[in-house]
């Protein structure tokens, strides 16, 4: 059987990493006293290779001896300015919350996650926004994901998730009243769905001092070092998580 070769994405990452390294080495030599050095302006590579698909991954296999029929991939790279970087990464900054990989790594296969990324969906918040705007059918058509798998992923995407719980430091975020235990900061995603979430710590309701999609600041009515908590964002969406404040934060 023919070897599938190397994912094209991996080749491009290896190429850009080598160019970064060349640029850093030349800059270092200039700082070390070399009177003249070079900055990369642009670079093109005509790569003689065979191109194939394995699932949704584009693979390349370098042309071998006597391979007159190999394809040529023309890669052209150029340096860009900081404003251009910022312009191109703006969408990444606006991606709040977990990536689809973090949220669905155990629910969707690598191939299905890649198809979502190809459709430009990298975060759960993007997926939910898109679902509200266009509906699951359109996302399924663009990403070529089976609609039932996508619906299951979207249902999972709507559920609240607690990633960790820490004691809130005395940073003025919560008014300190003598005798009251320190508030808790609950981090995760989908922690608020329109209205105020309800939080139970060890089965007892805790006051929510501040709520955002990714963080809740809650005031337990007694000091609890470890136990379980429940966050309910809507009558049918809740999550339970255990926590231990005595553990070192990771």
């Amino acid at each position: 059987m023919d070897e599938p070769g190397l994912p094209l994405e991996q080749f491009i990452q290896a190429l850009t990493s080598q160019l970064d390294r060349a640029q850093e080495t030349m800059a270092l030599k200039a700082r070390a006293g070399l009177p003249l050095t070079f900055a990369v302006k642009d670079l093109t590579i005509d790569l003689r290779t065979h191109v194939g698909m394995s699932g949704s991954v584009v693979h390349i296999r370098p042309a071998g001896p006597g391979d007159a029929e190999a394809s040529v991939i023309h890669l052209s790279l150029t340096t860009i300015t900081r404003p251009m970087i910022e312009e191109n990464t703006q969408s990444l900054e606006s991606e709040k919350g977990p990536s689809v990989q973090e949220a669905f790594g155990d629910k969707l296969g690598a191939d299905e996650l890649r198809r979502l990324e190809w459709a430009g969906i990298r975060s759960v918040s993007q997926l939910r926004e898109l679902q509200k705007d266009t509906g699951a059918e359109v996302i399924g058509r663009v990403s070529q994901l089976p609609i039932d798998r996508l619906r299951a992923a979207l249902a999972a995407a709507a559920a609240p998730h607690v990633s960790h719980v820490v004691a809130a430091p005395d940073d003025g975020a919560a008014p300190a009243t003598p005798g009251t235990p320190p508030p808790l900061r609950i981090r995760g995603w989908n922690l608020r769905d329109g209205g105020e979430p309800k939080v139970l710590i060890g089965g007892r309701p805790a006051a929510v001092l501040h709520a955002s999609d990714t963080e809740l600041l809650v005031q337990p009515d007694e000091h609890v070092a470890a136990g379980t908590l429940e966050v309910r964002t809507t009558p049918d969406l809740s999550v339970a998580a255990s926590f231990d404040l005595t553990e070192e934060p990771t």
Binding site: R31, P35, F38, L43
Partner: protein, 80 residues
Amino acid sequence: MTTVPRLPLADTLVGLLESLVPERAAAGGIRLGDVRLALPLELRLADDGRLLGNVSRWRWTTDFDAPPSRLTASFHAVQG
């Protein structure tokens, strides 16, 4: 028989450019401004994921050699 070590692409590029900078380039009246390279290049990905890029070895190529890819790059000289 000796084998020629295969270098990462970055080392090959830096080596090529360094050979173009005379020791006292900054002191002379005429300086190198831009450099444009157009080379046949043997590209291969090493087991550790680094991209190896080497100019052709100094010998006649045979039918047993893989066809090289081609690199075209331009660099702008900057004062150190």
